[in-house]
């Protein structure tokens, strides 16, 4: 088990528990490492993974260093030498992707727009994975009334479409970035918990858990040191799948105008919302390019998620 894939507080607490029986996890870790190495080599020979990673890395680069890719300002309208602006300029020439209604460079907005979504989506996903893993492990290991109670809550969250729940929560608590991160984290905790729960139930029936119980290990040790490493694969797949859905949900919220973002600032969903009604007037470029950016990002994340899933099952 690699330490960086474990939620931090758990690792620290578990350290004391691990000291009592140091030999067992180490032996298990060695074989696990071999398997991991093999899975990684499968992964890097999958075309889907390479293409997905390529697109993903491009957008990460755009999010971190947008000025490396474009020197044009995304907020100020492009002006010619005579000081005139060029609104609704079709793609080609100076502005590769054309200019929007008030003459801003669409390419610059698309590149700079990667930042917001690639900050918020990973943070929200990370919180959901940590919370969902803890909840799912607890539910799957202890079962009984704790599981029954949490299952009902998970089920009620899942019975309302994510986007509706998100709209409800965001309208209730205000359209701010922390609220949006919290909302997506909370809503995605439910499906993560359900997946981890199912995997935990399957693991808890295996002999190694039974023998750990017979050794008299504490539940906490068994969950963190024995079961968690064996459900890491499921969690990694869940992480990538949820990241895709987080991008999906964030873009939709931005399109619906509930992202709390200043519409001046570049954001793919907001930009589509501001321009799509002009598609009918044949001004398609300020809409289509941010729309394609969203599509390429979710497709990339999905390709990576799917490749990891396959590699783990290989």
């Amino acid at each position: 088990m690699s330490d960086d894939s474990t939620p931090e507080p758990v690792t620290q607490d578990a350290a004391s528990g691990a000291e009592s029986t140091p030999e067992l996890p180490e032996v298990a870790g060695a074989t696990r490492k071999q398997i991991q190495r093999e899975q990684l080599s499968v992964l890097f020979s999958t075309p889907g993974f390479i293409v997905g990673m390529g697109i993903l890395l491009f957008w990460v680069l755009a999010a971190l260093f947008p000025t490396l890719i474009t020197g044009t300002d995304p907020i100020i309208s492009v002006r010619g030498a005579d000081g005139n602006t060029f609104p609704r300029e079709p793609p080609g020439g100076e502005a590769w992707f054309g200019t929007d209604q008030i003459g801003r460079d669409v390419f610059a907005r698309v590149i700079h727009g990667a930042g917001s979504i690639l900050t918020i989506a990973p943070i929200a996903t990370a919180i959901a994975i940590a919370a969902g893993t803890l909840t799912g492990l607890t539910m799957g290991y202890f079962l009984g009334w704790v599981d029954e109670f949490l299952s009902r809550i998970v089920e009620s969250i899942l019975s309302i479409p994510v986007i509706l729940m998100a709209i409800l929560v965001v309208f209730t608590f205000g359209e701010t970035t922390p609220v949006i991160i919290g909302t997506i984290a909370l809503l995605f905790t439910a499906p993560v918990a359900r997946t981890v729960r199912a995997a935990t139930i399957a693991e808890a029936q295996l002999d190694y858990v039974t023998s750990a119980k017979m050794r008299g290990e504490k539940s906490f040790f068994i969950i963190v040191q024995e079961i968690l490493p064996n459900v890491t694969g499921v969690i990694v797949v869940e992480l990538t799948v949820r990241l895709g859905y987080a991008v999906f949900t964030l873009a939709t919220l931005a399109f619906l105008g509930v992202s709390g973002r200043d519409p001046q600032l570049p954001d793919w969903g907001v930009d589509v919302a501001q321009n799509w009604e002009r598609i009918g007037a044949d001004v398609w470029w300020p809409t289509i390019f941010p729309a394609l950016a969203i599509a390429s990002l979710v497709i990339a994340v999905n390709l990576v998620a799917d490749s990891i899933d396959r590699a783990l099952k290989s």
Partner: protein, 321 residues
């Protein structure tokens, strides 16, 4: 069987109860005075009083919960705030009818195509046909509906007049015209669900083809066609039914972006507008309706699966959730 249905219904009622609590709490925990937000900043004190009273905001949360529980039983959630004089239930039912049209039309297009695609992929397993179907489906399914919507608007609706920009046909239009208007949003729903349904169908078909009973049937010398029709089809489609069941709630209430792009007065848009304007009676009715649809759809899916395969009944009963 009766026990299974009863247990499922009971669990659904508990889930519905939790959603009831959530929608009751929302105006209470919303920052600021929801009554002022609804009535507007310049509202008279009397108007504010009225709004507070109709929302039940002066009552304790427990009383509000009891009132809302009563509303669920009588199916009377009061009048909409934004459209005075119109009952929230009536508005929701009108939107529900619109959503039903869109969902039924879309599924009639999506399910046969996706099932055919999934089965084709299963029969051509590990060929380029299989990979194309699976990967295209996977790539398309992750695109948000509003993105697919604006792209289709650009490449289809603007150059070709046959595709309509708005999904809502004028009143009194023929069924054919209604279908013509619904075609583009249905194509968007196809992009969202083709990959998902095709993939599950593919997996189900491969599992059924690999099963002992299919192998036995092949060995008995039964033709591929007969093995397929008599043994594989029924078993292969069980996961497909389960997926459609769990997605129906989303199709009815989650297509907010799609309904906005195609200006379609369905349930998703109604709930979004209700939340936007703090129209709590409408919001509560809409959300509860979506939850009820989800429950009945998943229950129906489970029953169909149980009917297709009696073994599933036992499995579901032991599963817990």
């Amino acid at each position: 069987m009766a026990r299974f249905i009863l247990r499922r219904l009971l669990l659904s009622l508990i889930t519905l109860g939790i959603i009831l609590v959530i929608v009751t709490l929302i105006p209470n925990i919303a920052p600021g005075d929801p009554a002022r937000k609804i009535a507007g900043g310049t509202a008279s004190p009397e108007r504010l009083m009225n709004v507070r009273e109709s929302l039940g905001l002066d009552d304790s949360v427990l009383t509000q919960l009891k009132d809302l529980g009563g509303s669920v039983i009588t199916l009377d959630f009061g009048d909409s705030f934004t459209k005075p004089g119109e009952s929230a239930m009536g508005l929701v039912l009108a939107a529900l009818w619109k959503s039903t049209k869109l969902v039924v039309f879309s599924l009639a297009l999506v399910v046969p195509l996706s099932v055919a695609g999934g089965m084709l992929a299963a029969f051509k397993k590990d060929t380029w046909i299989d990979r194309t179907i699976v990967n295209t489906g996977l790539a398309l399914s992750s695109i948000p509906e509003f993105v697919a919507g604006v792209i289709l608007l650009t490449v289809l609706a603007v150059p070709y007049g046959f595709f309509k920009v708005g999904a809502n046909a004028p009143d009194g239009a023929s069924q054919l015209t209604v279908a013509q208007h619904l075609l583009l949003p249905a194509l968007v729903i196809l992009t969202v669900y083709f990959g998902y349904i095709a993939r599950v169908t593919r997996a189900g078909t491969i599992a059924a083809l690999d099963s002992d009973y299919a192998r036995t049937a092949f060995m008995k010398g039964i033709s591929t066609r007969d093995v397929f029709l008599k043994h594989v089809f029924r078993n292969a489609l069980q996961p497909t039914v389960a997926v459609i069941g769990t997605q129906l709630g989303y199709l009815f209430g989650g297509m907010v972006g799609l309904e906005i792009v195609f200006n379609y007065p369905g349930l998703g848009k109604l709930i979004f507008n209700a939340a936007d304007s703090a129209d709590y009676p409408l919001l509560r009715t809409g959300v509860l309706t979506v939850a009820v649809i989800y429950m009945f759809a998943t229950l129906a899916a489970d029953l169909i699966i149980a009917w297709m395969n009696p073994r599933a009944r036992v499995l579901t009963e032991g599963g817990g959730s």
